[in-house]
Symmetry: C2
Subunit: 116 residues, 2 copies
């Protein structure tokens, strides 16, 4: 079992190249005994964004706080706290913060790819 | 792909027997093409609670809003927005709202069990 607030979980910063102003945390992963899927949390600063990329595995996203937009294929959509997003595998995607506060996004992946 | 705020997703109410004051929604499931895990959202009213039970599959929880406590095995722990909880399979667990506002919990399960 594990119970952890994200502020108590070590963060990895992504702030160069295709990502800007992003902090990532593995909230629940293989080291916790979670074999079927991995929960990460990304905090994206105002004007920050994740890479625009595509990969074989899917994402399940849940917007926790903040205001932003999500790109899926060629379409940007506004998202708000309480919005869930399913990004199928092999689909171009990106998340950007369009608000003035931190955008917090729960992002789940299946086992196999790097957890962070 | 799917983008949906939970307020736009049909809810199922659990308000008798071992559950009280709970609304559940499948945010991302097999019907959306998600084969590896299923995202549900549970809204729990003040004084409401999920069943105290145990099953073979694990949960990955993320507290979105509200104040509550989570039982794992024999221990209750306070949780707050931004807290992640890993409940291994075959472990007794329950969630209760101890605040005066709705407790909103993202709850993920692997494929196999009923989605809701």
């Amino acid at each position: 079992m594990k119970i952890a607030h994200y502020k108590a979980v070590p963060a990895k910063r992504f702030d160069s190249g295709p990502a800007a102003g992003v902090e990532g945390r593995v909230m629940i992963g293989a080291a916790d005994g979670a074999k079927n899927f991995c929960m990460r949390l990304f905090l994206i600063e105002p004007n920050g964004h994740t890479p625009c990329h595509s990969h074989q595995w899917e994402h399940e996203l849940f917007i926790h706080e903040g205001a932003g937009e999500v790109l899926i294929s060629e379409t940007w959509s506004k998202v708000a706290p309480g919005t869930a997003v399913f990004v199928p595998g092999n689909t171009t995607h990106q998340i950007k913060n369009t608000g003035d506060k931190t955008l917090a996004v729960v992002c789940l992946i299946p086992p196999g790819p790097p957890e962070l």
